[in-house]
């Protein structure tokens, strides 16, 4: 079975600072990978998905970008954070089954 690692668990960053959140997947090869954001008390918004190395699709125009430099690594970045970027960021993957996402433990980002 696959395991998704995310770090850091919590992060407090000032407005205008850069961001890099990392997600790595174990136990599967060439998985589809997804970044979701969950605002406080809200649902899950799909931000980016990737079907392979350097293959990234953006779902929502925003201040963020994503990269996939390796098969099992998915990175979420920003050059200059906004207050509205605060939220709970989750990495997910369906693994080999292609169904039934497994989620990482998430990163709680607070932009101050």
């Amino acid at each position: 079975s696959q395991t998704i690692h995310q770090w850091p668990a919590t992060l407090v960053q000032p407005v205008g600072s850069p961001l890099s959140l990392e997600c790595t997947v174990e136990g599967t090869s060439n998985p589809n990978l997804y970044w979701y954001r969950q605002a406080a008390g809200r649902g899950l918004q799909l931000l980016f998905y990737s079907i392979g190395i350097d293959q990234i699709s953006s779902e929502v125009p925003q201040n963020l970008s994503a990269s996939r430099p390796q098969d099992r690594q998915f990175i979420l970045s920003s050059k200059k954070l906004l207050l509205s970027d605060s939220g709970f960021y989750l990495c997910a993957s369906p693994g080999q089954s292609n169904y039934g996402y497994t989620f990482g433990s998430g990163t709680r980002l607070t932009v101050v």
Binding site: N32, Y34, Y36, G41, R42, G43, L44, L46, Y49, I51, S57, E59, L90, A92, P94, N98, Y99, G100, Y101, T102, F103, G104, S105, G106, R108
Partner: protein, 112 residues
């Protein structure tokens, strides 16, 4: 057409009661309907899932009822327990990229 509508937004149930959460979708291409359970500060975890070729799936105290003609599905939690208190998300999936579309979530509180 990509939306999944979920209700209610919040739900309070007495211990031992039945919790019912409803979801509706529009896209008939969806072919996989999972439910996720999320505790505070954690990533969502797959609870139970159903495909449209069956009308009901039961796993322990959790049951999904699926109405293909109405494009609706629901989660029933029998004998609800305080430990079931969490946020529940329905979702729908279909298509080559396997993008899960989530409902807006239901915050369930089971009172002892």
């Amino acid at each position: 057409q990509q939306q999944v509508k979920q209700s209610p937004q919040s739900l309070i149930v007495q211990k031992g009661g039945i919790s019912i959460i409803n979801c509706a979708y529009e896209n008939t291409a969806f072919d996989y309907f999972p439910w996720y359970q999320q505790f505070p500060g954690k990533g969502p975890a797959l609870l139970i899932a159903i495909r449209p070729d069956v009308s009901e799936k039961k796993e322990g105290r959790f049951t999904i009822s699926f109405n293909k003609s109405a494009k609706q599905f629901s989660l029933h939690i029998m004998d609800s327990q305080p430990g079931d208190s969490a946020t529940y998300f329905c979702a729908a999936d279909g298509g080559a990229t396997n993008k899960l579309i989530f409902g807006t979530g239901t915050l369930l509180a089971v009172q002892p």
